[in-house]
Every structure is written in structure tokens, then in C-alpha cells.
Symmetry: C2
Subunit: 694 residues, 2 copies
């Protein structure tokens, strides 16, 4: 069976409905447009373009058929408002009574789970002809997924806005497709969460993993233990009403809300109000630093479990999701090692090490969760022989670790590869697969791999910047978790990502709009063009190097150059492609030459213009070496192109001098990397090679 793995190169897109049980590709019917016009993300399981178009006019009307409820009506209203916003056409918001004349008919069989669930049927079919669009789904959630596809299909030309005639059959590859947002390190107000829930729905993610407690903040009201939030949060926490509001908002979009209360480590903020729960005497203060800290709950005292019973019981009533996440990560047990009573306890019970002690702790917590009707989920560390089989392992270790768990019969989700806080490009996340092609799992074992979650750890994000750390890259992860495994064309992913990214703006996302705001502030509202030129070719350093290079605390402003810069430079990626084409065009060296020259001149001039600007804006001081590097690297690039264009090889002295400069320029400064340097190196090296015949 021929499997088409992207939309750009083939006219008919028909991909496996499911990796486990592929269906045969259907024959193409007709094709009236280049599918490169399609910008669906995630790519549906099966797409067939057909002849014709369905115009979007002010007569656009939606009718429902079969099951209809308020949630479906609200989702149709939201879709209609977005369509109206894009087209600037006043569309009726009331449902049509006449199915035959409706532009869109939405046909559901049933509501689906009252609380969004792992077992939700999210499948749908969407058939658009030049007469009508028909969306059919077993559940309201499936219909919502189809409405998002419909919005991604909207096209326009001189004739107006329209939907292309098309046939879509769609369902997710994995049932668990999540985004973790850590609001422990930095609090995010409800409106930030809401707009991100909207964005999640737009790319068909279905689990909001709400990481609610950290060493640096306990951020949800407890009526039973009010000192948790009142002393552990600097006043920055969600009331229970706000929690209910967020849960309802997510449910309205078919998104589960799974809370995480990270124990026994990561719990400093709990201990500020309840030091008696700790494994050392205290007192405790809210942690302001970044890293792994020692405080941990005391696993040996009955009072700890009594507290957790009360606390988790209160949480279980507040959060309707079937799962409750207990964290369980990064507890090194240093407080346990130093506590003689805990050491005595271990000896008495025959508990051989801290891992075993934590397993003991987890067993007690498990009983509490079971009592309150919740299933347990935790990080890799919770995996232990006694863990029940309905628990879920969230793996920061990787797909192999997940496969091990699956072989033992445990469900798991992948987060390794999806750590969006580490500033890796979308392409890297995109290719991480929870169930890789070379997986040795049997079909039954593979079913234990439920999906994955992107993780937005909160050390260095503010309400102003968080969207730019989540989006658009998370849309690529969403595609990995929804679309067939064979959809892996990185260039086509980036093509579609650019469109989806800007469409997310209609939902209020700020990843694009806040960028010039930060630059204006840094530049004292001077013309930001040169600064934008610089920042467009840098990326924050990867992994955990930001903190190492530029230490800050949780109280530091996140308004610096590193906060403005984005993790996945479009400009650098396009530049790298131009350089490749230029070099592969040897011996002519014409392809992209003039564009490259323009880029280098712009970079050189921006670097120069930034000097006096930085003089006036002390917050930009750290940009000075970067600006100088940018100019120098651009000059090296210009010279390299001149050598190649004239056919004279550069001297080895020149080459060495340039490479030395570029080595210097490649060193991160201000926790930023000039990501164009590797491509300029290639040009310099090529310039010094003997010229080829022309």
C-alpha cells in the first residue's frame, strides 16, 4: 500500500486511518486544486480532494441533526464567530431549522462522556460538496474536532471565501494528547490558560495537565488546609471557583483537565504552611531559585497520610478527571537521609533505599487515590512492582522506557522529546514518536502506549511570554500524536505550521503579537527594526543552559532579550536552506546569491545601527557583543559570496581569520545563540576551496 506522508507532494492524500489497523488507500476521484493549498494540522487520517467549492456568504447557516446539546451549540457558535471574524461577514448565530438548505449540517449520535475521558470517541467524517458540508460524528467531541478541521479548510480568492469540496475521514492515532503547563514556578492567570485551551482544541489536543504545585508555589485554594495556598503562593493561586471555571471551559472544548500535585518532593511550598509534614524541622520559605530542592514529605508518619487523605479527597471532589497525577519525580531523598527517625523506620520495615521508601509512600498514596475513586499517574520514578495495572507512567526518560513499561503491562505516555521549555526546534519534537516504527512491541503491548504530552515547565515564562514558548511548536507535537505515524515530512510541517500559527492569533494567542512589545520596551520605543533583525536570527540556548549562563530567580523580570527571542528561528532555517541551495548550485553559485547578499547587508547594517541604540537602552547592554558578532559574521558571509561569485578561491589566511571570528560569534552570549553561524561557516569553507570550472 502506498502511503502518502504529506500534503505537499501528492495530489491525493490518503493515509492510514490507524497505524495498528491500516485501511487500504482509496482511489483518487478528481483533483481540482494543488493540495499544497491545504494547511490542515494535524493531518487527518484520510483526505480526498474533490471538484467544486462551497461558498461562504452571509447566508451561511448551520443545522444539526440527531443528537444536539448546549455543548454542541456553543461549539458551533464559536466556530461561526471565528469564521465571521476571518471573513468579515455577518453570519447568523442561531441554528437553522431547515437541514436541506443549511450550508453545514452537523450530525452527532450522542453527547459522549459527560466528563471528557480517555475513552472518548473523537472520530468524525467531513464531506463537503458544492451544495453542502456534512460533518458526522458519533460524539459531540468528534464533531468539535471536525469543526476545527473545517475552519482550517477555509480558502479565499477573488470570488470570495469558500470551502473546497473534500472528503475527510479522521480519528486520532493516540487517545492521550496533552499539554502540561507548570504554573507553580510562575503563576499564569486564568485568561492565559483559557486562550491556551482554545489553541489546544484548535490542534486537537485533549488533555490539559495542570501542574499545580511546586517548590516555588502552591497555586490552588484548599478550604481544608488554607495555609497551603495562603502561605505558599504569594497570593497567586486559583480559587476553587476559578478551577471549576477552567474545567468547564476545557470540557466545553472536549479537553480533560488532569491536576498534578507533585509529592513527595517538589513540595517546599506545601511546607511553608505545614512544616510538620516535612522530613526536616523547618521553617520553610517559598523557594525562589531554579533546580532540584531537598524538601520532601515525611513518608513515615501517619499524619502525612491523614493529611493527604483529606487533601486529595478535597481535590478528587474538585477535579472530575479519572486520573490524578502525583508527580513523584526528582526526589533525591536528602532530607530522608539526614532524618534519624526516617532511617530507623526504614530499618524497621526493611526498606532498603530511598527508591523503595518512595515506593512505600506511593503505595499509601495509591490507596488514598483509590478510596477517592481516582487512578494514579506519575513520572517514570513511580514504576514499581506493586503499582496496579491501571496506573499510568509519564515518561521523561523516553520511548524505550515507555516500551519497557508496556511490556510489563503498564499504560504510558511520552514526554521525553516534548520538553518545549528546552528551546529545541519544532522539527526535533516532531520526529519524537511514542511508538516508533522500529518498536519491538506486539500490537497488544503497543496499546499500552496511550500518547504523549508536551511539557511547558514554568521556570522562565511569564504571562507575556508563555504563548511564544508553547506555540507554534506544540502544534507539531499535536500532529505527531494525532496523525498517522508516516506523516513525517519536516518541510511540509513547517509550511503548514506557519499558517496554523497565525490562525491561532484569532483565538487571542499572543506568541506573535507580544514579540514587538518586548522589543519596543527594551529599545525605549525607538524604531525596533535593527533589533528585530538581530533577534530574528538568535535563539535562546538549549536545554538548561539559560539558567547556567544567566542566573535569575523566580522574582526576576522575564523581559530581557532572551525572553523576546524565540526557540525556532524561521529566518535561520530559511537562510540555511538558501545557503545549501547556493552551494549545491556550484559552479554557477547563482541560486539565491542576491537574496543572500541582501540578508548579509541587512545583518551587517543592523549590527552597526544597534550600537548607539544600545548606548541609550541599558537593558540592551547584553546585546552588544551579539550585535558586533552579527555584523562581523555578515561581512564574512558577504566576502565568501564574492569569492564564490568571482571564482577566486579565498586564501587560507582569510579562511582561518573568518573561522576564528565565526567560532567567537558562535559562542552563546546573553543566553542566546546566533543560529546562522553554521551556515556562514559552510560558505567560508567553500570560499576557500579551489574554484571549479565555470
Amino acid at each position: 500500500m502506498k502511503i502518502a506522508n504529506h500534503l505537499q507532494l501528492v495530489l491525493l492524500v490518503t493515509v492510514a486511518l490507524s497505524v495498528v489497523t491500516p485501511v487500504p488507500a482509496q482511489e483518487p476521484k478528481t483533483f481540482v486544486m494543488a493540495p499544497s493549498q491545504l494547511t490542515l494540522m494535524p493531518v487527518p487520517a484520510s483526505v480526498q480532494l474533490q471538484t467544486g467549492r462551497l461558498a461562504i456568504t452571509d447566508a451561511f447557516a448551520v443545522a444539526t441533526r440527531g443528537f444536539t446539546d448546549d455543548r454542541l451549540r456553543r461549539s458551533i457558535t464559536r466556530m461561526t464567530r471565528r469564521l465571521a471574524g476571518r471573513t468579515v461577514i455577518t453570519l447568523p448565530l442561531d441554528l437553522s431549522v431547515d437541514e436541506s438548505s443549511a450550508t453545514l449540517v452537523v450530525q452527532c449520535e450522542r453527547a459522549g462522556s459527560s466528563v471528557p475521558s480517555l475513552n472518548e470517541d473523537e472520530s468524525y467524517t467531513l464531506e463537503i460538496t458544492d451544495k453542502q458540508a456534512r460533518l458526522v460524528a458519533p460524539t459531540v467531541v468528534g464533531a468539535m474536532r471536525g469543526l476545527e478541521t473545517l475552519l482550517q479548510l477555509v480558502q479565499s480568492d477573488r470570488g470570495g471565501y469558500y470551502l473546497p469540496a473534500i472528503s475527510v475521514r479522521d480519528q486520532p492515532r493516540f487517545p492521550w494528547r496533552g499539554l502540561l503547563i507548570d504554573i507553580g514556578r510562575h503563576y499564569q492567570p486564568p485568561e492565559v490558560l483559557k486562550r491556551n485551551l482554545d489553541a489546544m482544541a484548535a490542534v486537537k489536543l485533549n488533555v490539559f495537565h495542570w501542574h499545580l504545585t511546586e517548590d516555588q508555589g502552591f497555586r490552588v485554594e484548599s478550604k481544608k488546609f488554607p495555609k497551603l495556598h495562603s502561605l505558599g503562593s504569594d497570593g497567586l493561586y486559583y480559587t476553587q471557583d476559578q478551577v471549576r471555571e477552567i474545567i468547564a471551559y476545557a470540557a466545553d472544548r472536549g479537553i480533560r483537565v488532569m491536576p498534578e500535585f507533585d509529592i513527595p518532593g517538589h513540595s517546599t511550598s506545601w511546607l511553608v504552611g505545614y512544616p510538620e509534614l516535612g522530613s526536616a524541622p523547618g521553617p520553610y520559605k517559598i523557594e525562589r531559585g531554579a533546580g532540584i530542592f531537598e524538601p520532601a514529605l515525611d513518608p513515615t508518619r501517619n499524619e502525612t497520610y491523614k493529611f493527604l487523605d483529606g487533601f486529595l479527597g478535597e481535590r478528587a471532589a474538585l477535579f472530575p478527571d479519572a486520573y490524578m497525577h502525583i508527580g513523584g519525580d526528582e526526589n533525591e531523598g536528602k532530607q530522608w537521609d539526614r532524618n534519624p527517625r526516617i532511617q530507623a523506620f526504614m530499618k524497621e520495615k526493611g526498606i532498603k533505599d530511598n527508591h523503595a521508601l518512595q515506593a512505600y509512600f506511593n503505595q499509601q498514596v495509591l490507596k488514598i487515590l483509590q478510596k477517592h475513586g481516582k487512578k494514579m499517574i506519575g513520572w517514570d520514578e513511580i514504576l514499581h512492582a506493586d503499582l496496579p495495572k491501571d496506573a499510568v507512567i509519564q515518561s521523561w526518560r523516553g520511548a524505550a522506557s515507555l516500551a519497557d513499561a508496556a511490556k510489563k503491562g503498564y499504560n504510558g505516555i511520552l514526554s521525553a522529546g516534548y520538553y518545549i521549555d528546552l528551546n529545541f526546534p519544532a522539527s526535533q519534537h516532531y520526529l519524537a514518536d511514542p511508538l516508533p516504527a522500529d518498536s519491538a512491541l506486539t500490537a497488544d503491548e503497543a496499546k499500552h502506549v496511550l500518547g504523549g504530552e508536551a511539557t511547558m515547565w514554568g521556570e522562565w515564562v511569564s504571562p507575556e511570554t508563555i504563548d511564544s514558548r508553547i506555540w507554534p511548536r506544540t502544534a507539531a507535537i499535536a500532529e505527531r500524536l494525532w496523525s498517522p505515524r508516516t506523516v513525517t515530512d519536516v518541510n511540509d510541517m513547517y509550511r503548514r505550521l506557519a499558517v496554523i500559527s497565525y490562525q491561532l492569533e484569532e483565538l487571542g494567542l499572543t506568541h506573535e503579537r507580544n514579540y514587538p512589545v518586548i522589543l519596543r520596551r527594551l529599545a525605549n520605543n525607538e524604531n525596533i527594526d535593527p533589533l528585530r533583525t538581530l533577534v530574528s536570527v538568535v535563539e535562546p540556548v538549549k536545554e538548561y543552559r539559560r539558567y547556567q549562563m544567566r542566573p535569575q530567580t523566580m522574582l526576576s523580570p522575564l523581559t530581557g532579550l532572551v525572553d523576546a527571542a524565540r526557540p525556532d528561528s524561521d529566518e535561520a532555517r530559511k537562510f540555511a536552506a538558501m545557503v545549501e541551495a547556493f552551494l549545491s548550485d556550484a559552479p554557477r553559485y547563482r541560486l539565491n546569491r542576491s537574496d543572500l547578499r541582501d540578508s548579509f547587508k541587512r545583518w551587517r547594517d543592523a549590527g552597526t545601527a544597534l550600537g548607539p541604540m544600545i548606548d541609550r537602552a541599558p537593558a540592551l547592554q547584553e546585546a552588544r557583543p551579539l550585535a558586533e558578532n552579527l555584523s562581523e559574521a555578515a561581512i564574512a558571509g558577504l566576502e565568501a559570496i564574492e569569492y564564490r561569485s568571482t571564482g577566486n578561491a579565498a586564501s587560507s589566511e582569510w579562511r582561518v581569520a573568518q573561522l576564528t571570528k565565526l567560532d567567537e560569534a558562535a559562542k552563546p552570549k546573553a543566553a542566546l545563540e546566533l543560529v546562522i553561524i553554521p551556515s556562514i561557516r559552510k560558505l567560508v569553507i567553500a570560499a576557500a576551496e579551489p574554484s571549479q570550472p565555470r
Copy 2:
């Protein structure tokens, strides 16, 4: 006494502390910087620059002295966070214990009113030396006003961020400085209100007038009469918890929250759930149009007043402000005219016309408000012989109407001149004075003029656009209401407004950042430069012409070109000044010539580039004639400049042809006006005048 009326032209700014009781100007001490570097807005009552600077470093510490409470601490924390955000310096958030080494000492005498009040003392003094800044205020609210001044004083140069040494003595000219936001026509979520409250505080406004009900929406939960919000709001209303949250948020910033429940007219949405309150039988539907509508409460039935007693009693408990606004505007009484029972009632009671009937209604409402401990405020229409002297008139009619009321002993506030929904430029609002220099009021009468309010009527604003309709223009109104009357330099106002406008971004205001978002959406995410060039020189049509030219409903998307365009084109204003300078430079015509030429070329090319872009983006169709007009007008301008530059007068045929084209270009299209046309006309006319000797 010499009164300096702006900061730009004088080195020492010392203006009257109060219009009623001016204090003598103090002698200048020293001046070390051009005050044109100062961008205070509103201009304080008295400012003296002195020698020296106070550096802002990571050792920045704040101590309090005298009275301290949580509200003061929170306001200091907010100030510190903003300062940290601007400077990208990690500043300690805890108060310093050591006053002598603190960078800033805040000294208050008392909390001030527990509920923000009309009688609040908002005065403060701020003394900054190179050793320390000292902010002294009788109340916490006064201290907050001073903290905003301090943030506006932050400067920077190569040496870092600093505060200039300065002495500020400040107090408001008027005690009532408000912003009305109408969320009846279009609902605005709490976060929109919160960021606007932050912006209000930044420019020292102190009344949020919350227009909560309209024909088009009843937007606040009533537990007593739940059909009001459940049937009258499309589900878009504030819960009572949200109302309390907004009130607390405002109080934290020293801002009163005055609710308005507009009766007896503007009440269609009330009648959807409670048709028996209307003066016609109903049923009623939420109004979707714009304009004045007929439905009005029935003023003749006891049940109406019983309902209002229950309703306003519930509101009085929810809203702590001393005043409650009953609207009272634009009831034409057509339902009353047609209701025989109402006519019989009027005859029986000897009520001669609808105005008298409304006065009767108001009298009953007044008793209800008094019973619940509230003072009444309403629009001009409520003024009547029986109105008690503690009522307040809000005048949409003008300062003369206000003066009349004042002579009769009534307090009043001005809104005529401050209708920011009508798209007039800031300069026009700026010069409207509640108590003009030529006022004939005595000093005692003048005390009845309490201030004014900008009014953001909600017909054509969405959460995406509303900030751009309020800001930055409202900052000019805020200055009018705070600063001495003599502060009237429009050019200097605009100079400072540009800085304040961008500073508002740090509070999350979206007036600038959402502009490219709307343009990108309209242009299908193509390069928006040409579109931006066009939109930068158009303004939405003034007054109520938008609805006439481009009818829409309350359900229409507010995502069109007219929604992107802003009411006060900076570019057009600067262009007009350039043209004036160019023409006044006769016979040389060199001043600005090259800049003008560049502008014209840019406009010409943008108009041309827009053609194919519009082809691909149907929502931009309405821009086509504007794009063509822009090109044509730019070509006319280019030619005019060439004539003036060469010294050859253009022919009268050329002149007539150009003026005909410009007349056409001056006609509004898509509810937009090309506001550069009058200046180009001047160039064309000048070009055809006989050349002067060179």
C-alpha cells in the same frame, strides 16, 4: 504670576497647584536636563527639576514610613515589578526595613477611604535627590498617584536607568475623573476591564463608570431576578463574584466603581425575562441593532417600583460606591404614547408630557436609592426641579449645560467632548474643559463642577479592538481633568502621549499590539507592509457615520479595515506639519521636501501593491478604492512638489484635474477617511500659484 503651560518650552515647570487657590510660582533652583525629556502625563501641579540623579540598580529598595497597609504594599509591589520589567533588573520585592538606606521611602498618614470616594485626598509630593526618593502623601491613594509619577520619571542612558533629581507637588484639579465602558452592546471579559483599570490608574483616573445594561444586553447576575441575566445576555454577563473581584481590583488602584443601570429607556434586555415591566405587552427579544429603541419601563405601575426596589437593593449591596447611575437618557416615550393606561395615568395625575412622566419616575427611583443609601446620578435629562441637591448630572450636552446646573446648585460632570467612541482626535478632547477659562461661574458655583468622564460606548468595539478606541486618547482627557487648566499645548501633549501610550503596553494594554494582528488576518498573513501604509493614513469616519455608511448589527464581526484603523492618525498629523513647514519655507521649498517625496512614493507604491493582495483577500475588497485613491493622491502630491521645486507653476488644468481627484479621494469609503487629503490639496493649490522669486 508666570504660568508655564507645558514642559517642552520652559526649563522650570511650575504651574498653579489649584485653579481656585493658586500658589505663587517658586524660583527655579537648578536645571540639569532639558525638561523635554520629561514625559509626565498628566502634568503635575508643580514640577521642579534639580541637579543629580538617583540610579536604579539591583540594590533598589523601598521602605515605608508612617501608615502602611496591604493595599500600599501591593501597590509598591506592582510598581517594583513594572520597574523591574522595564529595566530587566531583578529587584527585591520585600520592603526594606532600613529607611535610611532605602532608595525610595513612601510615607503615608492614613489609609484614606476604605471604599474609594469622591472626597479622597489624592495629593502627594515626590522629592528625588541623588541619595533617595521620598514620596509623601496623606493617603495611600495619594501615594499610588505618586508611584505612577515615579514610573513616568524613569530615564536611561549609557550609565544605566535612573530617576532625575526633582521636586513634584501634585494634586488633581477635579475630584471626579472617569472612564465609562459600555459592556451592554458588546460584552468585555473581566481581563479587559482589569487591564483598562490598570491603564486608568497609570494616568490617574479614579472612576470606572460601568455601564452594565443596555437594550442589547443585561450583563450582571441578579440572584433576585435571574431572568434578567439568563435571558437578557446571551450568556455573556458578570457573576456577582466577578463584580466583587473587579471592584476589589479597582479599589486596590484607588478607583471607584460606579454602576449604571439605564432606566426607564435602554431597557429592552430587561424585558426579555420580565416583559410585565414594559410599557407595551411584549414579548421582547434582545436588541441586535444600533440606535435608540422604544422599550421603556412602565412608570405607572407599583409593580415596577417594587421590582426596582428589590433590584436596586440587591445592587446597592453589591456595589459599595456612594453613587448609583440610573441613566435616564434617550427615552423618547413612544411606548408611553401608545399605551392608553399610561395616558390615563398621566391625565389623572396631571402629568403634562413624557419629560414630566420621566421626572415622576425618577422621583420614585430616587426614593428607592435613598432607602438603600445611594446618591443618584443620571444624564442631563434627569435634571428637574424636584431633584435633590446631592444628585449629580452627567452632561452629554456640554459645559454650558453643566454651568446651568451648577448655578442651580447641582453637581455635575462633563462628558460632552469626551465621547471617545466618535473617533475624534485626542487634540479635540484635550481642549474640552469642564470649567473653561471664560466660565461665568463664581468660585462657589464652580465647585459644583466635579470633573468629567470619557465615554466608551460599545456599539463597535470587541475585546480585540476596545483598547485602541480608549487608548491613548483617554490619557489626554485624563490630563485635562487632573492638570491645571493652563496646560493646553497640543503639540506637547502629543509628544508625551506617544511615550505614555507605549508605556501602557507594560500593563497588557493591546491598543498597539493588536493592530498588526487584525491586518495579518485581513491579508491572509501576507506581508502587511502595504496594508499598514494605507491604514496608517486613514481614520474611521467621525460621529455616528460608521453605522450609516456600513450598517452592521451587534452580531457582526468587528474585524474589518475600519476596526483596524485608529481614530487619530499619527502619520497624517506629522504629514500635515511637514506640509505646513514645506509651504512656509517658500520660496526655497526645501524644508521636508525629501521626506515628503519619500512619503508620497511609499503611498503610491503601497496603493499599487495592494491591488493583487486585495484580489486574494475578499475581506479587503472594500479597501480597493481607498488603495487607488491613495496612489492617485500620492502622485498628485509628488507632482505638486516637483512644480514647487522647479519653480514652475502648474497649469490651472492640472490644478483642476488634481483637485477633482482629491475631492473624490476625500470621500469616505468603507467608513474610512483618507485624512492626508486636506494637506495634499494645499500642496496642489500652492503648486499652481505663480512662482515666487528664488
